[in-house]
């Protein structure tokens, strides 16, 4: 072909419009899973392409092709914008024949999609978002929440802190749905345990990069624990600056939502000694190590965290359910598929055995980790010491306290 600048441009233009004119093939019994997450913003490393890779690994490990199933995985970047996410989801369901919505970090986005999935009667497996409202006031029969939520984080990290004597708290809170929910869940827990909340600073999200003012205020408050109700780059920045101002010597820092990728970004000399909660660690047991070994060649710079592992586990369980009930049935009715998933016991190498509760909460255990000292770390990403394991029943909010509306109906 004679490649001129014009022809290259036309080809590029055609390539971008291609998805729009692609005929709706494979509408029959082919299953389509859409992974929607942040692929360019602050949560790229904690969700992003690694989630997609892990979902694809589940197809491979399940042996989709040998079992004669036809499953395809597509993905999109929601840029943390609820409006964009809703329009992508509608396109996926209406035109592309997508059956399952997977991952979806950022609570505001995850909540916005809840009603779309319910309206289209599809399957919504959320792994990346934190808000406990997803199985509470905003619950849906088309929904399963896979690895964590704000209640469990506050219970595991916050509970351990209070038990260790950290009974007075100051919160540094990102001023949006997720941060406020996390701070309020944790405040409740601290008060119930007999502790008190000395104050909090609501800082503008996402414009804030300098936390020094708030850190100095926190220090002046006399609280024993600094609770970070934020995520991603904000958490990294606040911990970095807390160390700079010597807060890590005078207060305990509770990073309420933190992943191994954030620890990597901080470096062990700043992160050492932090307590945090995840439901998965790559170096936990034989199963997790073997999984990480399979995944790493495809994502060499980014080790899998609990969200990535959750995308794998959720996909695997969904595939088992489809194999059990038949692809045609699974495609037809989202609620029926979800009910079947809830009825079947969950089991895989990464999380062990668990059960999905009626409100869509997957009851897996939570692990409280302490970040290792640089001298204890023996290899790349060797970051966590396991401190406390809490069972799903003990760490998640009870069914009654969630007030999920469809349960009574």
């Amino acid at each position: 072909m004679n490649l001129t600048r014009r022809s290259a441009l036309t080809t590029a233009a055609a390539a971008t419009t291609l998805p729009l004119i692609r005929p709706a093939r494979a509408q029959g019994a082919a299953i389509k899973i859409g992974v929607m997450n942040d692929q360019s913003g602050p949560y790229t490393n904690t969700t992003g392409v690694t989630s997609v890779i892990c979902a694809k690994q589940a197809l491979e490990d399940f042996g989709v092709s040998t079992k004669g199933m036809n499953v395809e995985i597509i993905s999109a970047d929601h840029q943390n914008k609820p409006d964009l996410a809703v329009s992508i989801a509608r396109q996926w369901f209406d035109r592309d024949g997508v059956d399952v919505l997977l991952d979806v970090p950022t609570s505001s986005v995850a909540l916005a999609l809840q009603s779309v999935v319910r309206e289209k009667n599809k399957v919504y497996l959320n792994v990346g978002a934190a808000s406990s409202a997803l199985t509470g006031s905003q619950c849906s029969p088309n929904f399963i929440h896979w690895v964590y939520d704000t209640y469990m984080l506050s219970r595991s990290t916050g509970g351990a802190m209070v038990k260790a004597g950290g009974d007075s708290w100051y919160f540094l809170t990102a001023d949006y749905a997720f941060g406020k929910q996390l701070a309020s869940d944790t405040s409740d827990l601290v008060r119930k345990a007999g502790g008190k909340v000395m104050g909090s600073a609501l800082y503008p999200f996402p414009e804030t990069t300098d936390f020094s003012s708030f850190l100095v205020q926190a220090q002046a408050s006399g609280a024993k624990v600094l609770g970070l109700a934020n995520a991603g780059g904000d958490t990294v920045n606040s911990i970095k600056q807390a160390a700079e101002f010597g807060l890590n010597k005078s207060m305990k820092i509770a990073a309420l939502l933190m992943f191994i990728n954030d620890v990597h970004a901080l470096g062990l000399d700043v992160a050492q000694g932090l307590s945090l909660t995840e439901s998965f660690y790559w170096d936990l047991n034989e199963g997790t190590r073997a999984f990480t070994k399979r995944i790493l060649p495809k994502t060499p710079k980014n080790y899998p965290n609990s969200i990535h592992a959750g995308c794998y586990s959720a996909t695997l369980h969904y595939l088992k359910t489809v194999a059990d009930m038949g692809a045609a049935e699974a495609k037809k009715d989202g609620v029926a598929t979800i009910n079947r998933m809830k009825a079947m016991p969950v089991e895989d190498d990464l999380f062990g055995k668990s059960k999905i509760r009626e409100d869509g909460r997957n009851m897996i255990p939570a692990f409280l980790f302490e970040v290792k000292k640089p001298s204890e770390s023996k290899g790349p990403w060797d970051y966590y010491n396991l401190k406390v394991t809490t069972s799903g029943e003990d760490v998640y909010r009870s069914l009654a306290d969630g007030h999920c509306s469809f349960i009574k109906a």
């Binding site: 490393n45 020094s212 700079e244 000399d269």
Partner: protein
């Protein structure tokens, strides 16, 4: 204890000092923007991306070549400045005859591309960069605990800002520069290579951004988005100071840092907005900015 507006005095002094430190970053970034706008008439939206490149350059120097913080303070601005010169020569120089808007769009696009490339290569979580050993630790000032590194940032920023101001306002080179912006053909007639002067000015402005980036690396997360968080505020600073005014951008940068710092004590939720409120008030009362020359 002294109370000022219901806030304990020591806490308030601490916040003023912290505001000044943040102001140092605003001043350095807006200074570069003001120089570039004053001399080239380009609204350089890529400034945030170049600031980010400065931070990344210092990380790369350390990680790949084992070169520490202090050499990086000189090397990173040189490297990023050279990149800026390349940009100016190959792309930006084509737009001088067009409306401001084209320059703005082009540099905005460039910043998206640069940030995208870095995100692709290094992810979004950020990279660790330590405070150099000699600047670690903190002093107890009585009213607050002051990290030595922050003090160093203010010192470095003040020195850099005022030497830039002095070069432009007090030296022959600066005089030539200013003359070239007033009347390029005339200055060219005197045998001065004006295009080269402009290229070097852009390179200098970019180097200032990169210098700020190196200073920022140990305290902020080194990640591809670090510039975008700053750039909007910094543009407001430039507008408030008066587009193209060198001294205006320095003074306004420090002053707005303090205003923002105070807001973080009294009403933290508005701390990201307060700068823009000031901008609106200034634009309504003095449309050319606090230090802008009359038309």
């Amino acid at each position: 204890m002294i109370m000022i507006f219901g806030i304990p005095g020591p806490l308030l002094f601490g916040q003023l000092l912290l505001g000044l430190i943040n102001g140092a970053f605003y001043a350095m970034l807006s200074l570069g923007l003001a120089v570039i706008f004053g001399m080239l008439n380009i609204i350089n939206f890529a400034h945030g991306a170049l600031f980010m490149m400065g931070a990344f350059a210092s990380w790369m120097l350390l990680d790949y070549a084992g070169i520490g913080y202090f050499p990086a303070l000189i090397l990173a601005p040189l490297l990023v400045g050279a990149f800026g010169i390349l940009l100016e020569k190959t792309i930006i120089s084509r737009l001088y005859k067009l409306d401001h808007l084209y320059g703005l769009l082009l540099t905005f696009g460039l910043s998206l591309v640069i940030e995208g490339l870095f995100r692709n290569a290094y992810g979004s979580s950020g990279l660790p960069y330590r405070i150099p050993a000699i600047l670690q630790g903190a002093m107890n000032l009585g009213f607050m605990y002051m990290p030595i590194y922050r003090g160093w940032v203010v010192l470095a920023a003040v020195v850099i800002c005022f030497s830039t101001w002095a070069i432009i306002e007090k030296t022959t080179l600066g005089a030539t520069l200013r003359a070239a912006t007033e009347n390029a053909p005339l200055v060219q007639a005197f045998g001065v290579n004006v295009p080269r002067l402009i290229t070097l000015t852009y390179g200098g402005g970019v180097a200032l951004a990169a210098f700020a980036g190196v200073l920022a690396a140990p305290i902020y997360s080194v990640n591809p988005n670090m510039g975008t968080n700053f750039i909007n505020t910094v543009f407001a600073v430039v507008v408030i100071g008066g587009m193209g005014s060198i001294l205006g951008s320095i003074v306004t940068g420090f002053a707005l840092g303090v205003v923002e710092g105070l807001c973080k004590v009294f009403y933290p939720q508005a701390s990201a907005t307060v700068v823009f409120v000031v901008m609106v008030i200034v634009l309504l009362t003095r449309p050319r900015g606090l230090f802008g020359k009359a038309a």
